[in-house]
């Protein structure tokens, strides 16, 4: 039986070391493919529309005038099939719950849970 994979995953994060860390953590599960990265909302919307990922990991504090929370519905509109994980150092649980485009919130202080949460959201946690 062919192994299930989560093909597309876009990381929207403007801190380069943070993007490297996320890539390295997710690389532990070879079924996860990171197919794009962006540092601002405009690039994220373009990449999401072009790549149609299964999941977008989205930081709130990103470059440009549009922050992550405001970009979420725009990304969802560009890639309706993608789930959005808001991954931020701000405590934005309430804001994430109030935004229908965001499927889950994870605090950066909880980085140990990043891989299992991603696996669950893309359906790889069996």
């Amino acid at each position: 039986m062919p192994e299930r994979t989560a093909r597309v995953l876009v990381i929207v994060e403007d801190e380069e070391d943070m993007r490297m860390m996320i890539r390295a953590i997710l690389a532990v599960d070879r079924r996860i493919e990171i197919c794009g990265e962006a540092a601002n909302a405009a690039d994220a919307i373009e990449a999401a529309g072009r790549l149609d990922p299964g999941l977008v990991i989205l930081d709130h504090s990103i470059e440009g005038d549009i922050m992550g929370l405001e970009a979420a519905p725009l990304i969802k509109a560009a890639a309706p099939g993608a789930k959005i994980l808001l991954f931020s150092a701000f405590d934005m649980r309430k804001e994430a719950e109030a935004e229908p485009a965001i499927d889950e919130f994870l605090s950066k202080s909880d980085v140990r849970r990043l891989l299992p949460v991603v696996q669950r959201l893309v359906g790889l946690n069996d």
Binding site: D17, M18, M21, A24, A89, D91, K108
Partner: protein, 582 residues
């Protein structure tokens, strides 16, 4: 009866003369249009009453002095009409008619025939004289009485009662004249006495209307005073300056019968409006001047301005207020003391709320900026612990380099956070001494390996500021490194003297700071270009620290856009005296 009439006449003499003296005193204190006309009005009547006592009984043929007295008597209602007209609008036809009737009456006086003896029938000429006289008096007095009564309805209690008393007095005066003129020519002494007594009451009525005793004013103003006190008590509970101003304005405006009122903040922005159109605001703010006496209603055109410590009250007053509402204007001045205290208290509440909000924002951003490097360090550390064999040496080296970068950034951030916190609570130590700012600028530029052109202007080389040398170096370090990171060459450091201070400006020819960001430049965590800031490990606290250090060293820091393009970041420090040690 004759004795009673004599007493009444003397009382009238005293009454009208006192009234004339009081009106004259008012005119001497306050030389306005209404007070001038009022002084002339009662002065004329006093002249008539005194002259009437001095002249012998009316002879068959009126003498010249008697004609003069009659002419003054004719002028009395005209002067009272002019007093009212100086405050209340009148129609053109009425104005013309008033002058025509008065002129006719004066001419009539010059041709007045012999006065009939008691019991003697009145001649046609005398009747004509009486009719002209009566028409002129009753028209002018009744118009004055009507306008006073009607205008009083829109006034606050004291002004309204004063105006209506004056209206009643004018009406009674007209009545006494009509009764005197139309009574039987034989005239019974009792009828004359009755008219004299009515006339006697007029003088005190005018007096009370013109100068009511304080006790009476307080009684009249009881309800308005109670409303004002209740409002002032409510001001104590207000937690914002707009709330204070909005609650207070209608009361003070109503108290003086004003058209409307505004409370301006200390920076001349509007805190609250009451019945004032936005178009009038600029006009009303033009009269505000620093140094105005506080808690006193100062006349500025058709407004009264009350200066307070925490702003200004401007009341647009009507034409009647300066004469009838002077006591109320003093009450407004007293009330402004309470309002000023409430405004000051509300300002403190606002500052406290702003400080709490700013602290909340600061804590949120600081938490975020601290958590980010910790997350990276934690993530990579845990990754290497659990997946050591899964990564090759090159990858592990990348992870360790990232950890090292984030540790360094965290170290700088913690240091800057501690510095800004100490600055906020004024706990940063300052060790001022004479500092050669030109030499310091050269040393910092060399340390950062920046090619900066350092120029001094209007100063001899080696000029010194009196400040902490570490702080001066830090300020220069921040400005110069910002010029390299965000600006563009050439980078110039201008050092000049200005009003007992040394001003240091670092300018570049880069893109400059966007206008919408300039007001926030020196705030904590303000970053116009986040990407560039991150690329050089910026914490977003540098400029906030520069301003804090400048202020702790009795100076200041600011930004100016450079023309045609670029930035100019400046700070000012006090000049060191010749006795200050280096």
């Amino acid at each position: 009866m004759g004795r009673a009439a004599e007493i009444v006449e003397w009382l009238q003499l005293v009454g009208w003369t006192s009234l004339a003296i009081a009106a004259l005193n008012l005119w001497r204190r306050r030389r306005t249009g209404p007070s001038t006309w009022l002084a002339l009005t009662f002065g004329a009547l006093a002249v008539v009453v005194i002259g009437g006592r001095l002249l012998p009984d009316v002879a068959a043929e009126p003498t010249f002095p008697l004609r003069v007295l009659l002419a003054v008597l004719v002028l009395f209602p005209y002067l009272l009409y002019r007093f009212v007209a100086s405050m209340v609008e009148r129609s053109r036809w009425e104005w013309v008619l008033a002058h025509v009737l008065t002129a006719a009456a004066v001419v009539d006086v010059s041709a007045v025939p012999a006065f009939p003896e008691a019991g003697e029938p009145r001649s046609v000429a005398f009747v004509v004289f009486l009719v002209v006289f009566l028409v002129q008096w009753t028209f002018l007095l009744s118009r004055a009485a009507w306008q006073l009564w009607r205008a009083g309805s829109a006034q606050p209690a004291v002004a309204r009662k004063r105006m209506r008393l004056m209206s009643v007095a004018a009406s009674m005066l007209a009545l006494t004249l009509v009764l005197s003129a139309t009574g039987p020519s034989s005239g019974t002494s009792s009828a004359d006495l009755a008219v004299d007594i009515i006339g006697l009451l007029v003088a005190p009525l005018f007096f009370i209307a013109f100068h009511p005793p304080r006790t009476l004013r307080l009684v009249w103003r009881q309800r308005e005073e109670a409303d004002l006190r209740a409002t002032e008590i409510g001001l104590v509970r207000a937690v914002s300056r707009t709330e204070v101003a909005a609650a207070w304005l209608p009361r003070v405006s109503d108290l003086v019968g004003g058209r409307g009122a505004i409370v301006f903040d200390m920076d001349r922005s509007v805190l609250a409006l009451h019945n004032i159109s936005p178009a009038e605001v600029a006009h009303m703010s033009a009269g505000l001047e620093d140094g105005m006496p506080r808690y006193t209603a100062v006349e500025v055109g058709s407004h009264r301005v009350v200066a307070m410590h925490n702003g200004w009250l401007v009341v647009g007053i009507g034409p009647l207020t300066p004469f009838f509402g002077d006591d109320e204007l003093r009450t407004v001045g007293a009330s402004s003391v309470v309002a000023d205290l409430a405004l000051g208290r509300a300002r403190l509440f606002e500052l406290e709320r702003q400080a709490r909000a700013a602290m909340g924002d600061f804590v949120a951003i600081a938490s975020h900026d601290l958590r980010t490097p910790v997350t990276v360090i934690s993530g990579f550390t845990e990754l290497m612990r659990s997946q050591w064999d899964a990564h090759d040496d090159a990858e592990k080296q990348d992870f360790l380099d990232a950890i090292a970068r984030q540790v360094h950034h965290l170290d700088r951030l913690i240091g800057d956070l501690l510095t800004v916190t100490k600055l906020d609570v004024s706990e940063i130590d300052v060790f001022p001494r004479a500092v050669d700012v030109e030499r310091t600028a050269r040393e910092v530029a060399a340390e950062l390996e920046i090619d900066a052109d350092i120029r001094t202007e209007a100063l001899t080389s080696g000029v010194r500021v009196f400040a902490d040398p570490d702080h001066v170096a830090r300020m220069l370090r921040n400005y110069l490194s910002n010029a390299v990171t965000y600006g563009g060459p050439p980078i110039v450091v201008d050092i000049s003297g200005r009003n007992g201070s040394v001003v240091v400006c670092v300018r570049d020819t880069g893109p400059g700071v966007p206008e919408e960001f300039r007001s926030r430049l020196f705030e904590k965590f303000a970053r116009a270009d986040k990407k560039k800031s991150r690329s050089v490990g910026g914490t977003g606290l540098g400029l906030s620290i520069v301003r804090g250090l400048a202020e702790r060293n009795r100076g200041d820091a600011w930004y100016e856009p450079e023309r045609p393009t670029g930035s100019r970041f400046c700070f000012r420090l006090p000049v060191a005296s010749s006795t200050d040690e280096a």
